[in-house]
């Protein structure tokens, strides 16, 4: 129906609505998240009147929300990106401010510490300067701790921020879930209330400020929001369903944190999300991963590297009290409660018990409600039980040098897991208690003789023996620690030096067995080429043996001790040794039976050697003629009788006996076998040599004891045991076959021949049966004894051992090698270095004993090395010049070590990549500066991006009052015009009525 009135009234209705929309825009000009609305106006369907179409006015199609999804998304992304920079800029700036400010940086404390050490160099004995150095060292330790504490506080602050952000995300998610529910009631976006959509977008934008979102929109406008990169992990918000988002921190590593979604059903596990970032949350994570943790670990490395290097130098130096080996700093082990125990109100405090502390990797603290005490349970190595360290009465657990105190109230039995690692910056403490102990001096000095003719000056340094680079291995690497010959190894003189007996060894005993040649013996040398024991070397042997390849000092020259000459406090004796046993008896038994010839006696050569004084008892030579035994030979019995008759033995109450005891288990009773003992044919009761079993054999032998001097008995496992009859102990037993059978074809299944006896010496006190200078191991071996080389006294030098002669023999050893302090040894025994031949050669002597330790030619400019000391001379030392290498306890003003410490101010430290501590710290600060700069630049760039995105959105959705004012006028005019239409219609009607 097209008529003026209805046209006018519909237009009035439309423009009233249009004006209302504009008014609504104006009303919401300051509403957060409001999108401008416009009224869509369309013409009504025209009506046909004849051939013409007449318009029927206008109608309202919809109130349209001005909105662009793409622009909205851009804004959300740029919001996330910018929000991520903000905490990064703030936190990094804070750390930089602390680490690079002149008052709180580590560098100031480092400078003061090194300056104090440098100043101490001018008067190393000054207690005042020492106190300053020590307090600056304490301040350095404190500064490390303060920076570490600061990092921890920033870690905790960022942790709180992260947790708060997570809670905010959860709150926003719940709100958004509510909006989603409302949106879900309509099926199309166009049907949704614009305000609801504005609310949705506002919430999404706020969420994006906290964390980067992955948003998918359903046709109805319902959104699904995911966090992170793992699409399969489930959504934070899906429709009306909202999951709780959470974060878990690792108390042991600040750069490790896990984000997760709580399961919808309690029975399901948490869903761990990866790649969660962006927004304030992402900024905090980036800060912790890329700034906080690297800064802390760099600071820890610096603390460890510096403490190790300072301590290494400090230990080598000497304090005013003359002591060496002290640490200046210590690192407490870093023990932390792992897992959630810290959150349950438990905490752990550590301190050093004093001295070195070892780090225990991981262990448990368990509380026992019965004893009302904590105890540390340390798991043992595989196969070992756990170690339990309970708390003392004060509640303190002392674990490998660290004192632990657990705080917190246990409710019944508790178990806390503890992780331990090497301490870092937060665990640096001053270890030195007294200023006098600061090691400013070197422990050794090289003093020139007062009347030295030349003006040559000597300097010395000490570097612990590096271990011979060439030559044989140490005794412990060559032989097992077992003196039994079976544990030995076969050697010959061709092996050169066999092994080195390291300095500091105690009670070393080398066992030589199997020598038959008089030339076979063990030689014991010092590395300087001085022969302490064994036969002298020929010139050819000297040339081939005394070389660097064999482990001798380069340029060592051969020297042998004169007879009866002692070498320092060392005694090297060869022989057999009887030590007192628990019953108060010292006894010595032959290792084997005597070696006897076919007649049953020792060889003439051995007999001659014995009579010539080859043996000594407790240092007294044994001499005199050896009488033949009853059989007319010099058997074990004769030697035992000879020994027993020696004054040295009777005076010491030592008895010497011999006994021949033979055991045979492979008896052969085949009818052709027979047996003679000491030349007497053994026959059974019926006079036959055909003995068929063991008891018959025993009987047969015992029947003829009178003639043979041998008695027999059956052993427990069916063997035959033959022994000397009473009164004939020690005589050899001659075993023969019955002629004309083969020589070893006898009942005993043993080669025919003479079998010697075994020697036994026994006395009430320890004694030594030793070889004198002319005695040889072969002589000893003939008596059934292995030669033991005992190295007694204080062994201050490495010794090298070789073999003489052409035989291959077995050498076994017993040893004990405690750690040797070469420095302490040099300090205990002063040495003199004397120059001879106009300064062309030198001799090193031990001052107290006068023992010559080394001798060599002096090459001008070359250093002289002995026992870890390196001596260098400026100027040519002259004839008779002497230099004393001695303890430096009096050299209180010696500043050599404190200068080495002070030089660390600029010297590189290997553990710090050969940078000095100051440079290492400066590069840490520089890195922080770069990070801070980058964060600021990133923020500025992202601000521009966000501003552009805001403008783009604003262009679409923003409300401009000018624009609204124009619209207002436009719609007002249209409204007025529509009103005029109605008035016109009235006028027309009135006109019609007036007709």
């Amino acid at each position: 129906m097209s008529d003026l009135l209805s046209l006018g009234s519909s237009a009035i209705g439309v423009y009233k609505q249009a004006l209302a929309t504009v008014s609504n825009n104006i009303a919401n000009v300051n509403s957060d998240g409001y999108s401008r609305q416009t009224l869509a106006i369309n013409q009504n369907q025209p009506v046909q009147a004849g051939t013409a179409f007449l318009g029927t006015g206008a109608r309202v199609v919809a109130v349209e929300r001005q909105f662009d999804g793409f622009v909205e998304n851009q804004l959300r992304v740029s919001t996330s990106d910018l929000a991520a920079q903000k905490p990064l800029v703030e936190y990094t700036g804070r750390i930089l401010d602390r680490f690079a400010s002149k008052d709180s940086a580590l560098s100031g404390a480092l400078d003061n510490f090194f300056s104090a050490l440098g100043g101490l160099g001018a008067d190393a004995s000054s207690l005042a300067l020492r106190e300053i150095a020590l307090s600056d060292a304490a301040l350095l330790a404190d500064r490390f701790g303060a920076l570490d504490t600061f990092l921890t506080s920033q870690g905790e602050a960022s942790e709180t921020d992260l947790s708060n952000t997570v809670s905010e995300i959860n709150a926003l998610a719940v709100e958004l879930g509510g909006v989603n529910l409302k949106l879900g009631r309509k099926d199309a976006l166009s049907k949704q209330a614009p305000g609801l959509l504005d609310e949705r977008d506002r919430l999404l934008r706020e969420l994006a400020e906290k964390v980067r979102l992955d948003v998918t929109e359903a046709p109805s406008g319902v959104v699904t929001v995911r966090l992170g990169a793992s699409a399969g992990a489930g959504a934070l918000i899906a429709g009306g369903e909202v999951r709780t988002f959470g974060v878990q921190f690792d108390p042991l590593a600040e750069d490790r944190m896990a984000f997760f979604l709580e399961p919808a059903q309690p029975s399901q596990g948490r869903m761990v999300l990866s790649g969660v970032g962006g927004g304030a949350l992402g900024g905090l994570v980036t800060f912790r991963e890329q700034v906080l943790e690297p800064t802390r670990s760099t600071l820890d490395s610096l603390a460890q590297g510096l403490v190790d290097e300072v301590n290494r130098l400090h230990r080598a130096g000497m304090g005013l009290d003359g002591a060496t080996g002290r640490d200046l700093f210590a690192l407490k082990p870093d023990y932390r409660l792992a897992g959630l125990d810290a959150e349950r109100g438990f905490s752990l405090e550590t301190s050093l018990a004093g001295g070195d502390a070892a780090v225990v990797g991981s262990f448990e603290l368990r509380f026992n409600p019965l004893s009302n005490r904590w105890a540390a349970h340390i798991p043992g190595a595989p196969g070992e039980g756990e170690r339990v360290v309970p708390a003392d009465d004060a509640g303190l657990i002392t674990l490998d040098g660290t004192v632990l105190r657990v705080s917190g109230t246990p409710s019944g039995a508790e178990t806390l897991k503890v992780e331990g690692r090497r301490g870092g910056a937060g665990e640096v403490v001053l270890a030195l208690a007294r200023a006098e102990h600061l090691a400013g001096a070197d422990p050794l000095r090289l003093r020139s003789g007062e009347l030295n003719s030349s003006g040559a000056q000597g300097t010395m340094s000490f570097s612990p023996l590096p271990g011979a680079s060439s030559g044989p291995g140490a005794l412990s690497t060559v032989l097992v620690n077992n003196p039994a010959p079976a544990s030995g190894r076969a050697f010959s003189s061709l092996d050169g030096t066999l092994f080195a007996v390291p300095a500091g060894s105690e009670g070393t005993e080398l066992v030589l067995s199997g020598a038959t040649d008089d030339a076979t013996d063990l030689r014991v040398f010092t590395r300087e080429g001085i022969l302490l024991s064994g036969p002298a070397l020929s010139a050819a042997e000297q040339d081939s043996l005394i070389t660097g390849e064999q482990g001798f000092t380069p340029r060592a020259s051969y020297g042998a001790l004169a007879a009866e000459e002692a070498y320092r406090d060392l005694t090297v004796s060869r022989g057999a040794f009887a030590d007192l046993d628990l019953e108060g008896v010292a006894s010595l038994t032959g290792d084997r039976a005597f070696s006897v010839d076919a007649t049953g006696g020792i060889s003439a050569a051995v007999r001659g050697a014995l009579e010539g004084g080859a043996l000594s008892l407790n240092g007294v030579a044994l001499t005199g003629a050896i009488a033949d035994d009853a059989q007319g030979v010099a058997s074990a019995a004769s030697v035992a009788a000879w020994l027993a008759g020696q004054d040295a033995l009777t005076a010491a109450g030592i008895t010497a006996t011999a006994d021949t005891s033979l055991s045979f288990s492979t008896l052969d009773f085949s009818d052709h076998a027979g047996l003679t003992l000491n030349g007497v044919t053994i026959v059974n009761a019926s006079g036959s040599t055909s003995v068929t079993n063991l008891s018959e054999l025993v009987g047969a032998v015992n029947d003829q004891t009178g003639a043979t001097g041998v008695i027999a008995r059956a052993g427990l496992s069916g063997e035959l045991i033959l022994r000397n009859a009473e009164g004939r102990e020690g005589e050899s037993i001659l075993i023969g076959a019955q002629a004309p059978l083969a020589s070893d074809d006898n009942i005993l299944g043993t080669p025919t021949g003479a079998y010697g006896g075994q020697l036994t010496l026994s006395g009430p006190a320890a004694f030594a049966l030793t070889l004198s200078a002319q005695g040889t191991p072969a002589t000893f071996s003939a008596l059934g004894l292995d030669t033991r080389v005992r190295i007694g006294g204080v062994q201050r030098d490495d010794l090298l051992v070789s073999l003489s002669g052409a035989e291959t023999v077995s050498v076994a050893a017993r040893y004990e090698a405690p750690a040797f302090d070469a420095l302490a040894s040099l300090r205990e025994e002063a040495l003199a270095v004397r120059f001879e031949s106009g300064g062309a050669s030198y001799v090193i002597e031990e001052l107290s004993s006068g023992t010559e330790l080394a001798r060599g030619s002096y090459l001008p400019g070359a250093s002289i090395r002995y026992g870890g000391a390196v001596l260098a001379f400026q100027g040519q030392p002259g004839e008779g010049d002497v230099f004393f290498l001695e303890d430096n306890a009096l050299g209180v003003d010696d500043n050599r070590n404190v200068q080495r410490l002070a030089a660390l101010a600029s010297n590189g430290i290997e553990a710090l990549g050969s940078k000095s501590a100051g440079d290492y710290y400066a590069s840490l600060a520089s890195r922080l500066g770069t990070l801070s700069r980058q964060a600021v630049i990133g923020e500025q760039a992202l601000e521009v991006v966000k501003a552009q995105a805001e403008e783009a959105k604003d262009r679409v959705s923003g409300v401009s009052l000018d624009e609204e004012a124009a619209d207002l006028i436009r719609y007002q005019q249209a409204y007025q015009a529509a009103a005029k239409i109605i008035q016109t219609s009235q006028d027309l009607f009135d006109a019609v009525l007036a007709i």
């Binding site: 300051n30 400010s101 100031g108 000095r445 007062e450 009347l451 003003d893 101010a905 400066a922």
Partner: protein, 305 residues
């Protein structure tokens, strides 16, 4: 291009806030006189300063050590001058005593003075510094440098350590030398080649020779000559040390000045520049405020009356 009313106001407010903040910071810099208030404002300069501060502290230590070396050399110089004086007096006595006109009893009188001068030399050899350290004892500064033993002979109790302190990158100076460098042993004339006796033993023998009426011309006089020579040499050495101290101090002071200049460049505020910037910032803020006032007044509604 459409700008919404809210954005227009937000932008203007943000702009002005930023300018106000910068002004406040600039003002704080001017009042503190420092180029930056916190390292984050100038990370590069702040970290460069850490290195420069370390350098300066190192230079301070070296200058300090130079002072110590100078004090020590001064002390040695004055002791050695007295030693020279005593030696000259001894030489006079020696020449007099060598004159045959003096009887044995006269020589005994000389001997008394020689003994006294010997003791004076011994006390000079045991000179200590303000800290109580013997200055002619090497590093063994606690006890006496030279002391008379039970047998009456003087022996050197110090050591041969030379205490050096670093005063430059590769330059060090000796703070202490062994006492035998100053009180040098002398050859014994007439004895086998290379036979020497200590400084104090030569003086004791001088006195003994006089006491027994012996002749001092053959032995003591040449020894006194070489002692005087040794003492001059020692003085020359100390003089060299002192000139090295002065030379090194000049070098170090120059370096120190350069370091200070570098530090000041980075740390101290350039006031002219700072105040210019303050003015510029002020101007910018005023302009922003007045333009905001104008633009905010511009609204279509104002014209719809």
């Amino acid at each position: 291009m459409k700008i919404s009313t809210v954005l227009q106001f937000d932008r203007a407010a943000g702009q002005m806030g930023k300018l106000t903040g910068e002004l406040a910071q600039q003002q704080a810099r001017i009042s503190s006189g420092e180029a930056f208030l916190a390292p984050r404002e100038a990370p590069k300069d702040a970290t460069a300063l850490l290195r420069l501060d370390a350098l300066r502290s190192n230079q301070d230590v070296r200058l300090n050590l130079l002072d110590r070396a100078e004090a020590r050399a001064d002390l040695q110089e004055s002791a050695l001058r007295s030693v020279s004086d005593v030696l000259i007096r001894l030489k006079e006595l020696g020449i007099q005593a060598a004159n045959d006109t003096y009887s044995d009893s006269d020589k005994k009188v000389f001997a008394l003075e020689v003994r006294a001068l010997g003791e004076e030399l011994l006390s000079l050899a045991n000179t200590r510094d303000a800290e109580g350290n013997a200055i002619f004892a090497g590093a063994a500064t606690r006890g006496a440098a030279f002391a008379r033993g039970e047998d009456g002979a003087v022996s050197y109790l110090g050591d041969s350590t030379r205490i050096a302190v670093p005063v430059g990158e590769s330059r060090s100076l000796l703070l202490a030398r062994p006492g035998t460098d100053f009180f040098t042993p002398v050859a014994v004339p007439g004895a086998a080649e290379g036979t020497r006796e200590s400084f104090f033993s030569a003086i004791d023998r001088f006195a003994e020779t006089l006491e027994t009426g012996g002749d001092v011309s053959a032995t003591t006089l040449p020894q006194l000559d070489s002692m005087l020579e040794g003492s001059s040499l020692a003085l020359a050495r100390v003089g060299t040390d002192l000139s090295a101290v002065n030379q090194q101090r000049e070098i170090l002071s120059e370096e120190r000045l350069q370091t200070d200049a570098l530090i000041s460049d980075l740390r101290d505020l350039d006031f002219a520049e700072a105040i210019t910037k303050l003015r510029a910032d002020q101007l910018a803020l005023e302009a922003a405020q007045s333009s905001f006032a104008r633009i905010a007044g511009q609204s279509l509604f104002n014209f719809l009356r």
